[in-house]
Symmetry: C2
Subunit: 478 residues, 2 copies
């Protein structure tokens, strides 16, 4: 056991109520990056983080990113960067998180006020951003505070990079990371990102792969304005009719992508890789619990994990411009925009995927013989990422998990996309580790998002222990 962990752990337990208060304050700030009117709250959240870090003695800067492209009346929220420790004899770990959140309205179906942290009898802490990603971000602050109060020296230099636009495409961050690669980030020996989730609810994991995401819009327009369906139904081509036809040709109900050529881009499954999935601690019950339903497509955990990690998927998110409210409206929408995205995996290159998508949709639309007008474009893309799990960065995290939770972590990949992972890997040239704090039932991006108290407090211990093992781990090959 690393000598100085016991006092740190004890201090974390003693400070747990204060750590929960810190999260409560953060959740109370509705830092929704997608909403214009909440932009001031995103800034408020940046100031909150910066002042907490300053109070802990870190050197903090709030770096402006300029105006928001396409919304020039809005300033992008700053990147909060901080350095804690500057000892040349220590390793330097760069940690990333985001302080913005997804939209949330009580009337979406939340059982509690989304921006009031509400802790229930089971220790579930409900609130928008609790698990994604305010809890993990504050975890690093908690680590510093607990070390200080326990009188234990932090065994590494810590560089923090916390952004405020993650839920809206990380606008401006890529350029920032590139421009700071030889400046603020230059000392980094490895990178740690806590912005994903355990596979289940009991066992921590280390994540070495992510799917990418290509997000598309397809618009179909016809009449110059919305029409009354009684007056015009039957005499004009209707954009919604064409839209559901096009969207129905993208993916079948069993999740098979119907766009020809997409599956040819996917790296073949090797025997070696195939043998890994059986060992992962995961059951179909875990999936059912996360879904809240038994609507699984695949019968086995192995096939389910492969579908999530190493095969692409296509989801249809919704349609802009059509009637979407409760009740009945007899409208023929004049212009509708379908939104869908493809989760990408090795070796799908974004440009190749785009070409297949665009060509197919245009060809299918031509078959409809509609006089409406179609357009299709990429809204944004983020590449998939796979790292080496044999690097000392992963070994250290693995030992920390063993220390705090008493188990070996699963080595996993993730279905979601965290584009910044790839950006940090490319900018620093160093190994990137994903070290999640929350569990699979946390409902990030959904109603009733939560972080379990246990995950937050033991997760804070894990982040601290990881830094201690990082300090001790010999250099690895990978």
């Amino acid at each position: 056991m690393a000598p100085q962990l016991e006092p740190f752990f004890k201090q974390v337990d003693e400070l747990s109520n204060s750590f929960i208060d810190r999260l409560r304050k953060a959740v109370a700030i509705p830092s929704i990056s997608a909403s214009d009117e909440n932009r001031k709250d995103v800034f408020r959240m940046a100031h909150f983080l910066a002042s907490e870090l300053e109070a802990l003695g870190a050197e903090v800067e709030q770096r402006p990113l300029g105006k928001q492209p396409g919304k020039e009346h809005l300033d992008l929220p700053p990147v909060v960067i901080a350095r804690y420790g500057n000892d040349k004899n220590k390793r330097t770990i760069l940690v990333y998180g985001h302080y913005d959140v997804q939209p949330a309205l009580k009337e979406d179906g939340w059982a509690t006020e989304p921006f009031e942290l509400t802790v229930d009898a089971q220790g579930r802490m409900f609130g928008r951003g609790s698990t994604d990603d305010k809890g993990p971000v504050l975890g690093w602050l908690n680590v510093i505070e607990a070390h200080q109060k326990a009188g234990v020296e932090l065994p590494v230099n810590l560089l923090c990079c916390f952004e405020g636009m993650e839920e809206y495409g990380s606008e401006g961050l890529e350029e920032f990371i590139q421009s700071e690669s030889k400046k603020f980030f230059k000392d980094a020996d490895a990178v740690c990102i806590s912005d994903n989730y355990w596979l289940g609810t009991e066992k921590p994991c280390l994540t070495y792969g992510l799917r990418g995401c290509n997000y598309y819009s397809v618009s179909i327009s016809g009449p110059a304005q919305d029409l009354h369906s009684g007056v015009f139904g039957g005499s004009t081509h209707e954009p919604m009719t064409d839209m559901v036809n096009i969207l129905s040709k993208l993916v079948d109900p069993q999740g098979n992508i119907l766009i020809p050529g997409i599956m040819d881009l996917v790296a073949p499954l090797t025997e070696e890789e195939n043998s890994l999935y059986g060992k992962i601690s995961y059951t179909m019950d875990n999936l059912h619990e996360s879904l809240g339903s038994k609507t699984n497509i695949h019968a086995t955990k192995e096939r389910t994990l492969m579908a999530r990690w190493r095969y692409p998927s296509l989801s249809i998110h919704g349609i802009e411009g059509a009637f979407s409210a409760p009740g009945a409206k007899t409208v023929i929408p004049a212009k509708v925009i379908g939104k869908f995205s493809i989760r990408t995996v090795p070796n799908m290159e974004s440009e190749d995927v785009n070409k297949l998508v665009f060509d197919y949709i245009k060809a299918e639309f031509a078959k409809l013989n509609s006089k409406n007008t179609l357009d299709v474009w990429l809204q944004h893309d983020g590449k998939w990422w796979v790292a080496s799990p044999k690097h000392w960065n992963f070994t250290a995290a693995s030992k920390a998990v063993k220390q705090v939770f008493g188990v070996e972590p699963d080595m996993t990949r993730e279905g979601g996309s965290i584009p910044v992972t790839l950006s940090f890997e490319q900018a620093t040239g160093k190994n990137v580790l994903l070290l999640p704090m929350g569990s699979s039932t946390d409902a990030a991006h959904s109603v009733n998002e939560k972080l379990d108290k246990k995950n937050y407090i033991e997760g804070t211990k894990l982040l601290g222990a990881y830094l201690h093992y990082v300090a001790e781990e010999p250099v690895s090959e990978a």
Copy 2:
């Protein structure tokens, strides 16, 4: 020429600015019946109408309709009923209109504030409710006022029935009409409804048929909550995937309804009926102008008019519960509700249509092999209606059109549904005439709804002239 029309017409011209002011006041009241928070405005509009009618000397009542079914915290807006004249030697004409309007937000794409009547250089009066149906309703008030100020006696007794829930299914009205059939409505010799539109922009029409409307919801649900598409894409059946599949099987891009059996319910086209369509004053240019596009399905006016009047159509209005905002959200919606409606024609009975729709959708859903759950139900229905155009009620209106506009009106049917038409026919046992005021480009239910000043002022003359011819017309057979 009926002797007393000239002074009445002159008076209408002299009062035209004051009539436009009356419409301006009415449009300024956002009497949106579909919106809970605007219910007070719907009541405000009822009070406005009632006080205007009282000022003209009518006997007015605001009849309460009780609580709104399913929304018992809301009172239904009253039916404003009024009697003007009670002379046993005169015919009694019952007129109907509605004082509620469709929702409207500036950001939907309005060029002007939707609840501020804005008159442009071409005399187009923009504003929500201008043409649907506040302009026509106020037309009757204008008729009374112009008669009074011209010193001309109104040649009929007028019964007014103005409702406030037309744009939300006319909740409560059917029962009201039935219960008043032998009371307030018992003297009516004929009914006149001004709540539809000219076929084009130049020539008035009299309307003797309407399509019905069966409005359906189909819900598909799976996961217990919205999911992150990165985490769960590929491992769960997605309700949106199933939804676009189901919706794509209802109607093809050429407007053909794909539900087996529906077309078998439609009355066959006779040679006699077929010969009528060529005479109607309508061109494909009229259609293109109304659409603001050349997205017509049919090449000829005859086939276009048949598609609108005497064949059913199916429109997909939108999807509730999916992502519908601008931007990008990587969500798998947990429950989505598709909305579509079928415009019905003779001899489609609602129950037969429902059975075909429900059976087909359930069968198609079963073919998808999805573990999601589907439900489909009728939101509301209104039957089609066809009247006799040879009745004196129509003859009188035809002569009035000739008088005011110098042309014979087209005898038309309508694609839209006005369920109250059938209710009045059944409750009074009398002929019902639809006498539109607005033109085909008025964009009812859409952004930039308008009523042309000419249609409003000459339309007011038409309503008055109609009453004079009604008073003179001999009894007809039909």
